[in-house]
């Protein structure tokens, strides 16, 4: 059909339709539901999802079309020329209400204990489109309440409204047939396929798309009421893909990460591994500057670090190394590159990071660092590798080292005369260092990562840094001051602007606008 309507100029054919008495023009091939959304006409739905196929099972989006004998599902019906759609006739509203009444008939009275309450589509649609008292006082049909369907997910079959979104996420995103429907009528239920468990690497997306609280994440279950969370846009630091996420935190504790739509990167999805990566933010952190293994003030620790580094530099800059990590933000990388070049006057700058891991052709990259691309752009061709570092440590070329960021450091630190470490976590480097300084993590800073496609993506601080930790660029500036540098930075945006001006391949990047955390209760668009 689309081929026939194709105009000779190559532009897609347009169709003229009337929605609720108003004429509109849309490209052919659009569904009525999408057309309604484009012009702001409210049509409710459960089973339709913009990232999935449309099975038209929930019958919530029914609309009337003039000349059609009965209401049709708008999510499934493409727009056609001269079509006249009515979304708010008494008949449509009545059908919608009847469908909701069916859906609610056996729905358990779980809102007070349900994780989805507050962001639940059933609550929203009932309130928006029905809002009538129950007419049924019979008992409800009971089903299993706690079904352990997978590594990360629990199923409550009573709450399920049988929309099949989760089944389609498994089939179409993870490409594994893990979930199926069983039985018929009011006994129909969602379950795992025979011999299968919901263990695919994208299983937690089923929890996001579940319009009700039928599928819940073991990690988040019963830990926090959804409306008390504050959402901050950010980027997943789990691998080089850089999935766009929202950090959901309350009272300075991150409770979950959920994917944020970016059609060019991750669409609506993210992997389970990435979702759980936030746990590291609250685990085993270095919370105070340390000098010779004891907590110290920032001033004392910075002075001692500067003394050690200046001593090594003045003796011989060739034996002083700076190790940067591909886990660091562009701003931290730029500031430390500048410190290494201008103030420590060393060319021995190494780039390390997390090792290679598993990959797939959906979202997961083998490179488990979020900012390898950015590090290479900023560090340039002179960056040395982890293998170089190993060799230089073992051959004794290096006598002093400034180790920044999280990394699997290979090689022995024992031969070094002086070691200054900036890191977010406790561990062997902190234990071996003369001076260790606490570094703020990705969820605690404003900054940017450059993903594998070369997209520079913004991070926003969702929570304050743990303990006395500080953003890396700030520590670099203070170390620089202590070493007599003539430069400093007031904020991350300043570092970013300078990096963009100096690094040719970052010139198109935009810092974007500041995003404040929004409490989900007040983010009216949700649920």
């Amino acid at each position: 059909m689309a081929g026939e309507n194709q105009a000779s100029s190559g532009t897609p054919a347009k169709v003229k339709i009337v929605i609720d008495g108003r004429a509109h023009e849309f490209p052919a091939g659009l569904t009525i539901l999408e057309a309604c959304q484009r012009v702001g006409v409210q049509v409710p739905f459960f089973c339709w999802h913009p990232g999935l196929s449309a099975p038209a099972v929930c019958r919530q989006c029914l609309v009337e079309i003039k000349g059609f004998p009965k209401p049709v599902p708008s999510c499934y019906t493409p727009v056609a020329d001269k079509m006249e759609v009515i979304t708010n006739s008494p008949k449509v509203l009545d059908v919608r209400r009847q469908m909701l009444e069916f859906t609610l008939l056996n729905h358990p009275i779980d809102c007070p204990i349900c994780d989805k309450a507050g962001e639940c589509m059933l609550q929203k649609h009932y309130f928006d489109w029905d809002a009538r008292l129950a007419r049924n006082d019979g008992s409800k049909l009971r089903k299993a309440k706690v079904v352990d369907v997978g590594r990360h997910v629990v199923l409550d079959q009573e709450r399920c409204i049988l929309c099949s979104r989760c089944i389609r996420v498994c089939n179409e995103v993870a490409r594994q047939q893990d979930l199926v429907m069983a039985f018929r009528g009011d006994r129909q239920l969602l379950t795992t396929a025979p011999g299968q468990r919901l263990d695919n690497p994208y299983s937690l997306n089923t929890v996001d798309v579940c319009p009700v609280g039928a599928l819940t994440a073991k990690d988040f279950r019963f830990s926090m009421r959804a409306w008390e969370l504050w959402a901050t846009p950010s980027v997943c630091p789990g691998c080089a893909t850089g999935c766009n996420i929202e950090i959901h935190a309350a009272r300075d504790v991150i409770r979950r990460l959920i994917p944020r739509l970016n059609p060019a990167v991750n669409k609506y999805w993210m992997c389970d591994e990435g979702r759980l990566i936030y746990q590291r933010v609250h685990h085993n952190r270095l919370v105070s500057p340390m000098v010779a293994g004891s907590p110290a003030s920032w001033d004392a620790a910075l002075a001692e670090a500067a003394r050690l580094l200046a001593q090594a530099r003045d003796k011989s800059p060739a034996t002083l190394g700076v190790v940067l990590s591909a886990q660091m933000t562009n701003e931290d990388l730029f500031a430390f590159s500048r410190l290494a070049g201008e103030d420590l006057r060393t060319s021995r700058v190494y780039l390390v990071g997390a090792g290679e891991g598993w990959r797939d052709d959906i979202l997961v990259s083998a490179d488990k660092n979020p900012n390898t691309t950015g590090a290479k752009l900023i560090g340039g061709l002179t960056l040395r590798t982890a293998a170089d570092l190993k060799q230089d440590l073992e051959t004794g070329v290096l006598t002093a080292l400034l180790l920044v960021g999280e990394a699997d450091v290979v090689g022995s630190l024992g031969l070094l005369q002086s070691l200054v470490v900036l890191t977010s976590h406790q561990g062997a480097p902190v234990a071996a260092a003369q001076v260790a300084l606490p570094l703020a993590m990705w969820a605690e800073v404003d900054g940017s990562f450059t993903n594998r496609q070369g997209k520079v993506q913004r991070l926003h601080a969702a929570i304050p840094p743990a303990g006395q930790a500080r953003p890396g660029w700030g520590i670099a500036a203070r170390l620089g001051q202590a070493l007599g540098a003539g430069w400093t930075y007031a904020n991350a945006k300043q570092v970013f602007s300078e990096a963009r001006d100096k690094v040719t391949l970052m010139s198109g990047a935009d810092w974007g606008k500041a995003e404040m955390p929004v409490q989900l209760r007040f983010a009216n668009s949700r649920g």
Partner: protein, 405 residues
């Protein structure tokens, strides 16, 4: 300045003095509601006055932006805290107007709102007169009137559960019906209140000491009343016959027969007399309202506005969801703005509210009548004696909670 210079001043026949600043308040027994007046006095005479408000500022308008529409009722209780019901009603009417459900509020609820509102108007005036009489040394009158106020508050406590901060009104009606024997009790209380007011009237109206402090003091002309935006008993005592209940009837006020008393001189005594008569008129309204009180529900029948019954909430998913949405998200008021005004204890109590379509106000501005009423003191007090500040301020009846918000 030597005595020689002083002899040339116009006031040379009085004691030669220099003007001096004198602080009254914010902590002063007669400055109830916490207000500060910086007087410039020459001897006993007031040359100029600077009325400073804000000591009771509680960010009502800002707080309202972070509360659901329903959660604002307790804040309105604390505006004019001697007539909380009138604030409850005024605020509820504003939100109902923006929701477009004024006509759907059940008639019984409207009558109940009139009843509790008029009781509150009486308690408001009783407090004003009692406190002012006490400040002029008529302590017996204070006790008589306060006792009457307590009888009325006991009745309001009976229907709302709270003596002062009632939070009894809801968007779409009132939270609970009147108690079974409310009307007989109210008739009995009104009889006693009427007697108490008659006693106070006898003790004050023909009392030489009282009249000397009130007559001809603090005169406000009708033009001033219009110019300064004075409403309520203060405006009416100046001859401005403006009463929202008569001029822009709301609820069911157009069904009652009552008079709007108006003063002729605009002095303190007129303000006293107007309040005295208004209480009698309120009692007239109360008696008519009790006679006409229809049966029926007291809350609008709309699951998107009124909380469902607890029995339904615990036993059906529909009402559970409605309860959840109303509590967590709040009543969804369509985007728009509205100014709604009612006759409060002190005059025109206005609410200007703006909704952005969420469960909380985008803006909730109060037009507090006593803010405008108090402003006129800057003009009225100069030329009077320091002792006149007390009855004049008392008759303006500034309520800190309402004026400062």
């Amino acid at each position: 300045m030597g005595f020689g210079d002083a002899a040339n001043l116009p006031e040379a026949d009085e004691l030669p003095t220099e003007s001096m600043p004198l602080n009254m308040g914010p902590s002063h027994p007669a400055m109830h509601g916490t207000v500060r007046m910086v007087l410039e006095v020459q001897g006993e005479k007031i040359r100029s006055v600077d009325v400073q408000i804000g000591f009771l500022h509680r960010c009502f308008e800002k707080e309202a932006e972070n509360a659901t529409w329903t959660q604002i009722f307790p804040y309105t209780d604390r505006l004019n805290y001697v007539s909380p019901m009138l604030n409850n009603v005024g605020y509820a009417l504003a939100v109902e107007k923006l929701l477009g459900i004024e006509d759907k509020v059940p008639e019984r609820a409207q009558f109940i709102r009139v009843i509790v509102g008029e009781i509150s108007r009486i308690t408001d005036h009783l407090t004003c007169l009692a406190a002012s009489a006490m400040e002029l040394a008529a302590l017996t009158v204070f006790f008589y009137l306060m006792k009457a106020r307590e009888w009325l508050w006991e009745l309001l406590e009976e229907v709302s559960g709270a003596r002062l901060t009632h939070s009894y009104v809801r968007i779409g009606g009132v939270v609970a019906d009147l108690t079974d024997d409310f009307c007989p009790k109210l008739r009995d209380v009104l009889r006693r209140v009427r007697a108490a007011i008659a006693d106070a009237d006898k003790m004050l109206t023909s009392n030489r000491i009282f009249r000397d402090r009130m007559d001809g003091i603090g005169i406000i002309t009708r033009d001033d009343a219009i110019g300064w935006g004075l409403t309520g008993p203060v405006g009416r005592s100046a001859g401005l016959a403006y009463d929202v209940r008569k001029d822009h009837p709301y609820l069911v006020y157009d069904r009652f027969d009552f008079d709007v008393p108006v003063g002729s001189k605009g002095d303190n005594f007129d303000r006293y007399a107007v309040r005295l008569e208004e209480m009698r008129q309120s009692m007239r309204i109360l008696e008519q309202a009790m006679d006409l009180l229809p049966a029926g529900p007291v809350l609008v029948d709309d699951a998107r506005v009124a909380l469902p019954l607890k029995r339904e909430v615990y036993n059906t998913i529909e009402s559970m969801i409605a309860h959840f949405k109303l509590i967590m998200d709040g009543i969804v008021v369509p985007p728009g703005e509205i100014y709604s005004f009612t006759e409060g204890g002190n005059g025109e109590l206005g609410f200007y509210i703006v909704s952005d379509g969420t469960g909380r106000p985008c803006k909730c501005r109060v037009r507090p009548p006593c803010f405008a009423n108090l402003a006129v003191l800057n003009q009225v007090l100069p030329g009077l004696f320091v002792a006149d500040v007390v009855p004049t301020f008392g008759m303006i009846n500034m309520i800190g909670g309402e004026c400062d918000r």
